[in-house]
């Protein structure tokens, strides 16, 4: 088992190296474009261009350029954005990480807990009115676009009903550091968490219900009944346990993507300056160093999330431990 984990860890490093090479090649070795001009931004003076050329090693072979770039991102951390006049890229990314992580992590806790409850209740009462109601609500959650839902939430909690007793606790939009103001951190994030989680609660609840109902058809469920176990125990210890594998797969993919910047819409709607927002602004300005850093960061999170999923697989399914 330890060997399996170590091997997975090695694979992870290898994949991240591969991604960094590909991303580098796309930005710096695309034929017919001058990366120095892009990095320096529009209307850059010849002196700035020369400085960029020298600093990024564009007068040297490609592998030296790659090493320079990685050094700037990971070792010295002094990658500078020329478009934004000397803004250091790495600290900017580091500042947005806690914002995105707080948003996505809180939403993930919410959607995992709620969707597991919904999946179990719906599977246990399948084909009843309760099951149909939960599944219809799930579909509704999936159908609501997050930017629309976010704006409606803002409309209700920030303006229309903000002065009523129900929503007077909702602070103005923005992010508060957890270390400075834990209560403020929590309160500002409650509405964004709910908004982001609604979609995933719908998807995960439906997926889990289907997986539980499928595993209830298995032979080992009949064995469990023949053992004289209670229906609750059969559902929770046997059917749910074997259904969690599909659930974890989905979670790894979604969590990685969200932390990597897919929470952009939620971040924009609620004025949270996270990774998604940072990437979006960088794309608007064609800020190449910033794009490079955020893409590297995002792919790193997707890879790490997938590795974590594989570790959880190994915990959930003993069949994967020996191979």
């Amino acid at each position: 088992m330890i060997y399996a984990i170590l091997r997975r860890f090695g694979q992870m490093l290898f994949v991240m190296f591969g991604i960094s090479v590909i991303v580098f090649l796309i930005f710096f070795a695309t034929p017919g474009s001058d990366p120095a001009a892009r990095i320096a931004g529009r209307n850059a003076s010849p002196e700035v261009l020369a400085a960029v050329r020298h600093s990024f090693g564009f007068d040297q072979p490609l592998y030296v350029q790659y090493v320079r770039m990685m050094e700037k991102i990971f070792v010295t951390g002094d990658l500078t954005s020329f478009v934004n006049r000397g803004w250091k890229v790495v600290p900017a990314v580091m500042d947005s990480i806690p914002v995105t992580l707080s948003l996505v992590f809180g939403a993930a806790v919410l959607w995992v807990v709620v969707s597991i409850i919904i999946g179990i209740v719906a599977a246990a009462t399948r084909d009843s009115w309760l099951d149909r109601l939960l599944m219809a609500l799930g579909l509704l959650g999936i159908s609501m676009p997050v930017y629309w839902l976010g704006e409606v939430m803002n409309l209700i909690t920030q303006s229309r009903y903000h002065d009523s007793w129900l929503f007077s606790w909702v602070p103005p939009l923005g992010y508060k550091n957890f270390s400075d103001d834990p209560k403020g951190w929590f309160l500002t994030l409650v509405i964004p968490w709910i908004t982001l989680a609604v979609l995933y609660i719908g998807i995960y609840g439906r997926v889990l219900r289907a997986a539980i109902i499928e595993s209830l058809q298995e032979d080992y469920i009949r064995t469990a009944r023949a053992k004289g176990l209670s229906e609750t125990r059969i559902l929770l210890r046997h059917a749910l346990r074997t259904s969690l594998i599909a659930f974890v797969t989905l979670f790894g993919l979604d969590f990685g993507a969200l932390v990597g910047g897919s929470a952009l819409l939620t971040e924009v709607v609620f004025g949270l300056h996270g990774i998604g927002k940072l990437t979006y602004d960088a794309l608007q300005n064609l800020d190449l160093p910033m794009i490079m850093a955020t893409v590297m960061y995002a792919s790193m999170f997707v890879v790490v999330a997938n590795a974590v999923v594989d570790f959880v697989y190994i915990l959930l399914d003993p069949r994967l431990r020996t191979s």
Binding site: E218, D219, Y220, R222, T223, A224, R225, A226, K227, G228, L229, S230, E231, R233, R237, H238, R241, T242, L316, D317, P318, R319, T322
Partner: protein
């Protein structure tokens, strides 16, 4: 009598109408007795025993008749009461050991789970008992086997684990649904030995479902032959094998290759195929395939009668 089934009928509501899977099955089982239930696929042998176990969960199933376990009526018993019997006093072994165990728990955990569902004992006590049980079903290294997951064991070992699980609460009645079908022949022999040994040590009654006449001839005290949801012949093993009366039983025995003497070039087979349960003939269900049918067989269904060795056939009644 430990188990007494009277006029059991199981039907399923389907889109094409009511399917009567079991039509008036009656049998008795004494303590320590092994009853072999023989029949081809779809003859209702498994469904009738699932009904005894209360394991027919299909909401479209209708179960009628009477199933008495130690004098207590099981049909219509509340789920909670039934659960107390199941796994505790009545245990079941299933056909395919590959899929009968939950893949994510160890053998020891799964057997201990059953013990703890019925007895108020500590986890460590339960695990001690598991080790004993695994030794009893001839696991070479019972202590190590407890921490094995199902996929780490061979088919024969898994079936032994399933048997150990079934025996964990000393059941008075054991239902074995083709426990050797999915296993190869040498492993089969070991499992049959085990069933025989358990009958003598635990004095459990056993219902052994199979389509293998050879297994029945080795193991069963009494035999019940089923066809299209009805019992067509019953009797002691010696009666049935030396003097088969129903044409279907005869045909089944006739299709076993002889061990001595000249081997036939082709084994005799029963012509035709079993009838669809949706369109059973009005008379004897075996009629269309029967070599000795005559007028009465077409119009009415023959009765089994009450004799210890009996066959549901007009020809037999006539003789």
């Amino acid at each position: 009598m430990i188990l007494s089934v009277r006029d059991l009928r199981v039907s399923f509501r389907t889109e094409d109408g009511l399917v009567r899977a079991i039509d008036g099955v009656s049998f008795d089982l004494a303590e320590g007795e092994i009853l072999g239930v023989v029949g081809e696929s779809g003859s209702g042998k498994t469904v009738s025993l699932l009904a005894v176990m209360g394991l027919i969960t299909d909401p479209n199933a209708i179960i009628e008749g009477s199933i008495r376990y130690k004098g207590r009526e099981l049909v219509g018993l509340p789920a909670r009461e039934l659960r107390r019997l199941r796994g505790n006093e009545i245990a079941m072994i299933f056909q395919d050991p590959m899929t009968a165990l939950t893949p994510v728990y160890t053998i020891g955990w799964q057997i201990a789970e059953q013990i703890r569902a019925h007895q108020n004992i500590s986890k460590s006590k339960a695990l001690e008992r598991v080790e004993q049980l695994l030794a009893e079903v001839n696991f070479p290294n019972p202590h190590e086997a407890m921490s094995r997951y199902p996929h780490q064991l061979s088919g024969g070992m898994r079936q032994r684990a399933v048997i150990a699980m079934a025996l964990s609460c000393n059941p008075a009645l054991l239902v074995a649904d083709e426990p050797t079908t999915a296993l190869d022949v040498t492993v089969q022999a070991g499992i049959l030995d085990l069933v025989r040994k358990l009958r003598s040590t635990h004095n459990s009654a056993v219902v052994f479902i199979t389509h293998d006449m050879g297994v029945v001839s080795e193991l069963a005290d009494r035999v019940m032959v089923m066809y299209a949801g009805r019992v067509v012949e019953r009797g002691s093993r010696s009666e049935l094998f030396s003097d088969p009366q129903h044409p279907y039983t005869r045909a089944l025995l006739g299709s076993i290759p002889p061990l001595t003497g000249e081997k036939p070039r082709r084994l005799p087979a029963i012509p035709g195929s079993p009838p669809s349960l949706l369109r059973l003939p009005q008379g004897c269900a075996f009629g269309p395939r029967c070599p000795v049918r005559y007028e009465p067989c077409v119009a009415t269904k023959p009765d089994l009668g009450t004799a210890t060795h009996a066959a549901a056939c007009f020809r037999v009644a006539q003789a």
